[in-house]
Symmetry: C3
Subunit: 654 residues, 3 copies
């Protein structure tokens, strides 16, 4: 198996059989080493209930094998055939308006419906039996982009699941009423089965969040159920391809899977933000992740919403996942659909078999993957800095965004961007990640820290010597999203000894603050926390309401062997870089000077040590090298000092 | 009882009982003299049907009494407990899509549903029996912010009520068909019970308006039904807290109540518009109104949509209702909810008991209310000018806004703003208000004047010597919103002897007009009425279609001992001030020169006479005093002449 | 009968009978020669099922006859009386949310419902019997503005019709599955009756398009069904008044009708685009069309959305249809509704009978129609240039707009505007139009050419000597909207011998092209097609991805005796005019130099020959006359050379 993989999604079921040989010959020409197949082909596998036909699929897998192209096999459960809907109309999702989804799209069935589960189990079992031992199947993908849309299904099975989840979590209805403050609005329930789906009302954020979580956990259970079946028949690694949609719990979803799989579709404008997701996906499992989908050109369904991108985009877009810890980059899709829902989406080939204009970039990428193969497979991303980012907080923001139109992503991702000029490539970690390897952790917009034993682990970590940058909008809600009643925070008032006096939404008017080191005014974001006097105060309010002027907004504190920096201001990127530098210096972490939108990825392995550079802003950038290095891709050597990087430039430096 | 009241909404049912003493001690510290309680606490009072528990509430009322804090008791009918919904699922409102609202918010029940009414009667009776004679309960608030949302409930009871209301109003179906012109589109009905709720169709504006009115009257009946019950058990004054939402009929709603109650949530940007509502609420009853809700800081539900306001906002915002004729200002809420729907809304205290940054302003306000108490309680707002503003016209605009995106509020409120530079604080009066005390009345955007005996009263009033400024968009529809067929207007063509030749929507292009006194061009609004030659013409069309050029757009007429000024142009504020000055001069009303967004409120009482000034634009302002005056709040004296007022300044001048 | 007709919509059923004489006397004063009546008056004709009353209508028709005003009689089927809905509630349209439309608007019944059809047949029969031989009824209008809104009705009858239509078109379900590529997403159906209405799912564009077409064809069948009935009783011409809404199939709708009828409501801003529709409507039948509705002033329903227009607008707006091949212009409406849904819409008279400000323009128009009558009735629009514009492509764009927010209309209408400076007034032709008379045809945004025998006819036409300007976005989909699989195009790759290498969405960045004649850079639109080397290359890519640079984007080719110009760039109007000039020169078509938004209409007849000029931009314009001409309207003569035309000027030059 050639790693890193360069792959593509291949739908032979949509084409005449005589096209297979042509397609495979073109894949070889492009440098494709891996094909994702079968994910939507349930009907072709099981044209009527219990009658299977896998011959066509064996044919494809075998021909790919003969061409030395590996296969990732998808379970086709996102798209049940019409015979299932016809036999059991209630397998279709029920909307809050009382109308069920109709057959015609995908993922229109309810993952809690017993008839759907029965049919899903059967096709997964049959497929696994057929291909579980096929040597050319190097991995399994469960379903496709599974998540809950909108309010989710409100059928009886989903409601029942919701009630059971609540009962398990809260124990008694009295406890639920108490935790959610349901004396308010006389909302309290007398039994779990009275609780409605959180639709058709102005619901409180706590029930709203639990409803979302219940819907999302149903999808996780559904995936895990398939994994259990697959493991009976195969030893190949298993995953499910997820997208950066809403507050899916990536950690929990991947808990009993082997490989984190990720789909993304970015444009020049938001490409610089893409590393955030890879920095996160990388930490979800200890095996290298697979980027299972990305576009070669533009994406689009019935209408195109992306346009022609500059030369080099396809290549750098293919390289980022590899640079940041993945071992596969796969295109969606191989050959543009000749008809159907997504007939306008870019691909490697046009429907008539002509190559798209990025074909040359794909060939180049394939060649480069081969050149860098040793380095990539022998090293891992090396970092001592983490940014917290959890599913629970995403969901909490969705249900109570604190200030209108402020999303959860902004806080953690701004922190990543603030680290870029310092040459730091942080891990982005979920609630269950071990903290041991980190010297600095940033917790911004972490409304609640109460997620399992995270509070205890954080406290121990900081007391043992960590540098913890906290806030704003952090530690101010309990595990269900309620305010604390005896303190403004869950733990930081206790750990620092200062009070959080005020939590203030601001639009920048009527408030100003300055760094106490004389370096000037802070730019104000939309939320400010104000502390009582104490610690080493780094910034104070200088203008505004007389009650606020002079008060602390940023301060640092000793805590055991560690440090806590409370940051009450929603800093812009420059100020945040300043604060981050301060924290990195406290922790003794070496930095590298970087200019521009250059992602610098230090990688280390047995005796190997280097940097991968990816320019993502389509502009010139630079990094300071601390020793002479050689680019594996070109063989060129560079002296220590400033290395200039051209737009969309990629360097694998040893 | 200390008046004016400084109060707050207090929800002890949402907190541990051990917090009551703390809360009360902090209220004393803040200067709070009055607490609104119980409005959503039905379940705590009646945990299961017919089983009441008022002990906890007596405890609170008694502790407040001990602290000399009066109580306004709310009936909790906005939030029925789950047992009612469970017993009778049809108490929940039915939406036009056939789906009922689910338990979880508030005001989700149908006010026409007999089972809801039965349960509501019972809890109101029980509560009234308990607290009807409690000396610390100084007033009763029925339900909370009751109004119809969107299309309203479409259940059988609501439809039946609609049919009965139509039958009562129109007598026969033939008459209804005739009044609504239902030959059009073959829409005519053969019996009242065929008439649908005005949803799911492109409905004519007449049925649409009646449907809205029927929904709104259901809420009025519901409130009056509670008032009847309460009166059996209490002598304390009764009200219901309303908001400036849509075309609620404030006059009718308050007809059998004692105190008009009003909730509002303003920001710096729209604070200057707030007096309009108080000028209106003041006229609804002859007793001083209560401002039952306003924010201390920002409001917000799951997300904050308002931001930090400048210092002084809380104080001036608390003072406006008092200046303009109220005797209570109450904050919503005392202590920020620790959880639930509105956990982000500003309050006096944070959930952990710390005071918010406006605490000092609240204390100052409390002290000032005490200082000014004699003056405020002994004087009333003194004015001879009125602006008409009626529920029927609001509803008519909602159903046929004449020109797209033009709302009813603009006309009357622009008139108020045009009076500000003249130092006039007008009454804003509904359809039933007596006209006797006024020398000048402005009727702008009064599509119809046909509301009870208003046309007769207006004609008598003007013939007896009033100065009536009419138009534009006034008197051009009959009582159901139809055009007149024999004249363009209901009465003004007859009273003035000139014809309204044209009614013209304009976007300012292709039309111009000038004052005939040589003072220049008018700025054009979005609607213009053109008159035939006659009267004393004040402005004429000067550019545009040849059919229009030279024609009259503003003219004055004698009418009995009075005057009518027809204004066909939608004047901007400067031109409107000019026209208003002309009318005030005709009526011999003295004016005061005011600069800036300064509300100047003349107040008069037994031997007392003074001005209250409130600066609302957060900028410098001034007023010309015609005699030396002394500020009750500071004791400072000011000579006659120009008094400069600082941003958010408040003066109580005697 | 006086032609061209100047008419109006007249609703005597909405007024007291004593108004008829007054209305008719005012019509005479205005110069009205024709009245459209009865279109919504079903209930007045048939107050209860089977009981007819036509006396009132005879009275009106006879009085109009006495005044020499002709009548166009409308069938009233858009507005069934309440008794029908009451007897059969299922006649009302069923929405996708399961809720039926309620009585109160118009066109709320399902045109596939057998009970509605039965009642419709009966009233049409009764009306036709009464007035079929009335000599004053000069034409019949079936229903009014009939089309499918939104998703259309989803009742069992509509679904059944859909299935039958699919079965007829595709023959077998296997064929349908294959044509729509329904292996994709396992969507394939086992029988036609499993196919849902294309709602409640992310449906593929092919099913979506067929669903739309099925809904639209139901309306066509409904109209044709009425035509069959009418023909039994009348010899007067029959039509149905349509609007430029969505992708209605005007050709098919008018197939068994006699006169194309068209309603439009334009404003100064979009008046220059109006000729496009008349150029199209003119070609639908060989008889002159009738403009059945347009506003005298502003339109509006409960609220006005248009404003005062400049003097002359009403006149030029009335003249355009006549200039462009119509023989009637009718106003909607005669007298502003005194109540009801559209009580704010402009008219000839106000409700109280006063004339609106455009009355003089209407009188002038009437006089001019009379003056120009001989010329207009003896000549026809004369052109050798056509632009293709088909219902199928409109629907295909609606279901797969290729690039987001790009509509079908833009391509063909931009082509018309590009011809204006050349003095060319093109025909706009549908899929069934004969091509024989044209020397140049433009096919832009014609996604598919597969519509009946169009491909064969186009090929023959070009081989016989036509000059065909093709693209972009043309010939790239098959008849159901799928990509071709063996070629990028249906016929142009074959006819030109070059390949369409790339189809590229662009936002103008990262791409540039230049004319090969040295005349500079092209402005880029949002879609570009790139060809292989071949033909006479007119423009090439000059900047962009290295794979694209140097490639052809515009090229011309010989094809038999004709020429094909492939245009892969979405040219702006200036570049398009340049390309059009090139094509016109190839075809030897004489051009006239025109400046400004002047529509120049050459008309020819027996021994007559002239030009009608209409200035539509409210600005100065000019045209080069090639001989001295005389204006029939004023009698003035103009020498050869430049004729300047004033804003909204109209000239009928002989």
């Amino acid at each position: 198996m050639k790693k890193p993989f360069l792959g593509c999604a291949y739908y032979p079921e949509d084409w005449d059989e005589d096209q297979i040989d042509f397609d495979i010959s073109m894949m070889k020409k492009a440098g494709i080493t891996c094909a994702r197949i079968a994910e939507f082909a349930w009907r072709k596998m099981e044209p009527s209930r219990g009658h299977y036909d896998f011959g066509w699929l064996h044919n494809v897998v075998d021909k790919l094998a003969a061409a030395d192209i590996s296969v990732v096999m998808g379970t086709p459960t996102a798209c049940p055939p019409i015979w299932l809907i016809k036999e059991y109309p209630d397998v279709a999702e029920l909307g809050p308006n009382g109308v069920r989804k109709s057959h015609g799209g995908r993922r229109h069935c309810c993952s809690n419906n017993p008839h759907y589960l029965e049919a899903s189990d059967a096709i997964v079992t049959a497929l696994a039996k057929e291909f579980g031992n096929d040597p050319n199947v190097i991995g399994w993908q469960i379903d496709n982009e599974i998540y809950s849309w909108g309010t989710g299904c409100v059928c009886e099975h989903c409601i029942e699941r919701f009630h059971k989840a609540l009962e398990k979590k809260y124990g008694s209805i009295e406890n639920l009423n108490a935790r959610w403050n349901l004396n308010l609005f006389s909302q309290a329930y007398d039994s779990f089965d009275e609780i409605p789906a959180a639709v058709n009302a102005w619901h409180n954020p706590h029930i709203h969040m639990e409803w979302i979580v219940s819907n999302r956990e149903a999808q996780i259970d559904f995936v895990h159920r398939q994994a259990v079946i697959l493991r009976k028949y195969t030893k190949a690694p298993i995953g499910t391809d997820m997208m950066p949609v809403n507050g899916e719990d990536y950690e929990k979803m991947n808990e009993c899977l082997d490989i984190a799989m990720f789909n993304h579709y970015n444009e020049p404008s938001n490409l610089p933000g893409l590393p955030f997701w890879y920095n996160f996906i990388r930490t979800v499992r200890d095996t290298p992740f697979w980027n299972t989908e990305t576009a070669t050109t533009w994406n689009g369904s019935e209408a195109i919403t992306q346009f022609l991108k500059p030369e080099g985009f396809c290549r750098v877009n293919s390289w980022i996942p590899i640079a940041l810890g993945g071992e596969a980059n796969m295109y969606w899709l191989w050959r543009q659909h000749w008809a159907g829902h997504e007939l306008i989406h870019g691909a490697v080939l046009y429907p008539d078999g002509k190559p798209m204009h990025t074909f040359g970039e794909i060939q180049q990428t394939a060649a480069e993957f081969e050149k860098a193969s040793d380095f990539i497979t022998s090293t891992k991303v090396d970092t001592e800095v983490a940014i917290q980012f959890t599913s629970k907080n995403w969901n909490m923001f969705e249900c109570q965004s604190v200030i209108a139109n402020y999303g959860y992503l902004d806080g953690p991702s701004d922190t990543m961007h603030a680290l870029t000029p310092l040459g730091i490539c942080p891990d982005v970690i979920g609630a269950r990640a071990s903290l041991d390897k980190y010297k600095v952790i940033f917790s911004r917009s972490m409304l609640t820290l109460e997620d399992g034993d995270m509070p205890e682990r954080l406290e121990k970590w900081v007391r043992d010597g960590g540098v913890w940058v906290v806030g704003p909008m952090t530690d101010i809600r309990d595990s269900v999203g309620a305010h604390y009643k005896k303190s403004a925070t869950g733990m930081t008032e206790r750990l620092t000894g200062v009070d959080m006096l005020h939590t203030i939404p601001t639009d920048g008017k009527y408030l100003a603050a300055e760094w106490t080191d004389g370096s000037g005014e802070l730019k104000f974001g939309r939320w400010t926390e104000v502390y009582s006097e104490g610690g080493n105060i780094l910034a104070r309010i200088t203008k505004g309401h007389s009650e606020l002027v002079g008060k602390s907004v940023i301060a640092s504190f000793d805590c055991g062997k560690g440090k806590i920096i409370l940051c009450g201001a929603m800093l812009d990127r420059d100020d945040l870089t300043k604060l981050a530098k301060l924290a990195l210096d406290m922790a003794g972490i070496k930095q590298r000077k970087v200019e521009g939108k250059l992602t610098v990825v230090p990688r280390k392995g047995d005796g190997m040590d280097g940097l991968v550079l990816c320019e993502l802003g389509y502009e010139n950038a630079s990094v300071e090298l601390d020793r002479p290095m050689t680019d594996i891709l070109t063989g060129k050597s560079y002296p220590a000092g400033r290395l200039c990087v051209e737009p969309y430039g990629i360097y694998v430096l040893e």
